[in-house]
């Protein structure tokens, strides 16, 4: 019934590892997909994806959208303890309404 499903729910890795976070969704008609990082306070924006197959990159983080298979992934390479956070994905529906997934809790151990 959830429109946006994130996996895994939580993940523990060691510094230097590479992680892949998944976001699958059911809606086929949407404006864009967003990724957020939430540490202790408010979510902060990471990426907006609108087109399938085009990778967005920012430092060690990258993300891609697959509109055919209805999913997006967020990759983090060479993880650091500062990457520990909850990662949220959200669909932007028409009408500018966002539907969030439950999030993936990432913990990076030193």
């Amino acid at each position: 019934e959830d429109k946006v499903v994130q996996s895994p729910l939580s993940l523990v890795v060691h510094e230097g590892d590479t992680v892949t976070l998944n976001c699958s969704y059911e809606v086929t008609n949407f404006r864009s997909l967003l990724w957020y990082k939430q540490e202790k306070k408010a979510p902060t924006f990471l990426f907006m994806l609108t087109s399938s197959g085009i990778e967005k990159k920012s430092g060690r983080l990258s993300s891609i959208l697959d509109k055919k298979e209805l999913f997006s992934i967020l990759n983090i390479t060479a993880t650091q303890t500062g990457d520990s956070a909850v990662y949220l994905c959200a669909l932007v529906e028409y009408g500018n309404k966002l539907v969030f997934g439950a999030g993936t809790i990432l913990r990076v151990k030193s």
Binding site: R31, L34, A42, V92, N96, K97, L98, V99, G103
Partner: protein, 116 residues
């Protein structure tokens, strides 16, 4: 200071009391939203507003009331608080720039509400 601010940041109340959480933004963003965040559920939309005097229900509106008499303010009222409304509440706003809609939300720092 420019931005989006919420108050109070922390509130403890009792079952049955009325509580209002305030949200103020200085960007003149058209859209404003109220979300609640609970473990295992992520962020769930309570109400949103596309402009002053225009509001609409989100996913979990029961027990909440909103108003938007001015573009910059979007208060959320719990008319008779229940324990199930214990949560962290986030207000957010979004810019709609002509034909280009980024969909990006700017969040306030959250209001942690405990209902005893």
């Amino acid at each position: 200071d420019a931005g989006i601010t919420q108050s109070p940041r922390y509130k403890i109340t009792e079952t049955g009391r009325q509580v209002t959480l305030m949200c103020h933004q200085t960007w003149s963003h058209s859209y404003m939203f109220w979300y609640r965040q609970d473990l295992g559920h992520g962020l769930r939309l309570i109400y949103y507003s596309a402009a002053a005097d225009i509001t609409d229900k989100g996913e979990v509106p029961d027990g909440y009331v909103v108003s938007r008499s001015k573009t910059e303010n979007f208060p959320l009222t719990l008319e008779s608080a229940t324990r199930s409304q214990t949560s962290v509440y986030f207000c957010a706003s979004s810019l709609l720039r002509g034909g280009f809609d980024t969909g990006e939300l700017f969040f306030g720092e959250g209001s942690r509400l405990t209902v005893l």
